[in-house]
Amino acid sequence: MCGIAGIVFKKENGVGKTLVDMLSQLQHRGNDSVGFAIYGGLELGPNEYQITLEVLKNKSEIYNAIDAEIKHQEELSKEIFRYTIFSSSYGHVGDIVGKLNSIEGISVLGGGKYEIIKDIGCVSEVASKFDVIEKKGTHGIGHVRFSTESAVDRYRAHPFQSYIYPDVTVVHNGQITNCLKLRSKLEKKGHKFSTDNDTEVIVHYIADKLMDGFSLEEALKESVREMDGPFTYIIATDNAIGVAMDKLGLRPGIVYEDNELFAVASEKVALERIAKDGSIDVLASGEVRVLRVEK
């Protein structure tokens, strides 16, 4: 059991506050960890990327792994550091992430042109620690975790990311019961997994489909067809969020729209602080939806 939320603004850009409002209402669905992926709020140049790390030891080795110019670095907490780098391509960023993850005591929490925030604790603690309420952007996703498949730590907190396609992240409620089979197929295609979490399979699966030229909606439909088990997940890309529900409809999902925003959540209670007079739809079994950012 976990709580998931996603938001796309049509005009305003208070993504951080809105996600905090939604996840605070979903706290009862899990208090192991909290995570956010916020898009459209970073002022990065064409070749600039942000990498966020958990550093438990071997901090000095970071500079050997980042073979790119570091524009800016920031200590977000005692163990979480953020680097803004110049890099020639997203593929190079993926290589740097691989090198960093191979260092003992260092875990990459996210990297790209969006902002990742995830930590152990409840929503109010994490939101306060990282000033999430102040984060602006166009869209984002968030998660409160009740761990069922793997350990409770920052690394396994959602959102998860794939580094083969830029800025694809996912939050998930449920289980993917054939994840090992899907993971094996993806590993044979060259995907590198960094955790034992079934959610990581979803993000690699979708990234793989996007790489193969599928639209986000097509990728979501394929996932519903191929993935077994009870799940609802929200995927975010640089210009959209998408939601998919398993074919038996075994995990909840609700979609809200008004003149200002689209929102997706595990349950209606998440909308209590943000909903006005918009329309609410309950997702049906096997349904997918894509909500695009208007640019």
Partner: protein, 219 residues
């Protein structure tokens, strides 16, 4: 006596303690600022009437006996779960698993219901004013589901007893489910229910889904 209870800032546990306290003495309770709270009136026994001004979350009216609940908004998953007697009327949509496992009483959802309406229900009546989607009446053992609109895929999946009446179309049938014309007795019973709830529908236009075999899996 009629009481108004403001549930702002209350946990479901504290809200239900208050509801139980007032239901012991009052004929009617009005709940304000419910904010889609889960478990409203769960396990409540008596003959009190509860009016909910807004939406409710999961398991609204779960395991009630004798209580009448009028929800003016929509409900999340499992309204009327395992209720044994009483009545729940929902003005909006009814979520997944509406009336699951119910033993008695009536659940009337004026809007649509999502997947698995009335799953494993043993008795009682569920009325859906709109459509009921995927696997309506899954493993249903008794009672009746009345859907004024359409049914989704795998309707009556593994149905063992009872009947699903529907006024529209169905997408597909589940295992052990078959469609029959309704008989005179069915039509009379539907007419009584329609009259009671002010439903404008012609019972003779309804069909029903019933079990194909009474012992489908064990010979």
């Amino acid at each position: 006596m009629r009481s108004i209870i403001d549930l702002s800032g209350k946990t479901p546990r504290n809200a239900n303690r208050l509801i139980r306290k007032y239901a012991a003495t009052d004929k009617k309770i009005v709940l304000k600022n419910v904010n889609s709270m889960h478990y409203i009136a769960a396990g409540l026994v008596g003959n009190c009437e509860i009016e909910v001004d807004g939406d409710v979350g999961y398991y609204a009216g779960s395991m009630i006996h004798g209580i009448r609940i009028h929800i003016k908004g929509r409900a999340g998953w499992y309204p009327g779960d395992n209720m044994t007697d009483g009545e729940i009327v929902i003005e909006g949509d009814g979520g997944d698993g509406a009336g699951q496992g119910m033993y008695g009483g009536t659940l009337y959802v004026k809007g649509n219901t999502n997947s698995r309406t009335g799953q494993i229900m043993k008795n009682g009546t569920i009325i859906v004013g709109g459509d009921s989607k995927f696997m309506t009446g899954l493993y249903m053992m008794g009672g009746r589901i009345i859907v004024l609109g359409n049914l989704g895929e795998f309707s009556g999946e593994s149905i063992i007893g009872g009947a699903i009446y529907f006024g529209g179309e169905y997408k597909s049938l589940g295992k052990n489910a078959k469609v029959e014309k309704i008989n005179e007795k069915d039509a009379r019973e539907l007419q009584v229910i329609f009259k009671k709830y002010g439903i404008k529908a012609n019972p003779k236009k309804f069909k029903k889904i019933v079990p194909e075999k009474s012992r489908p899996f064990y010979g």
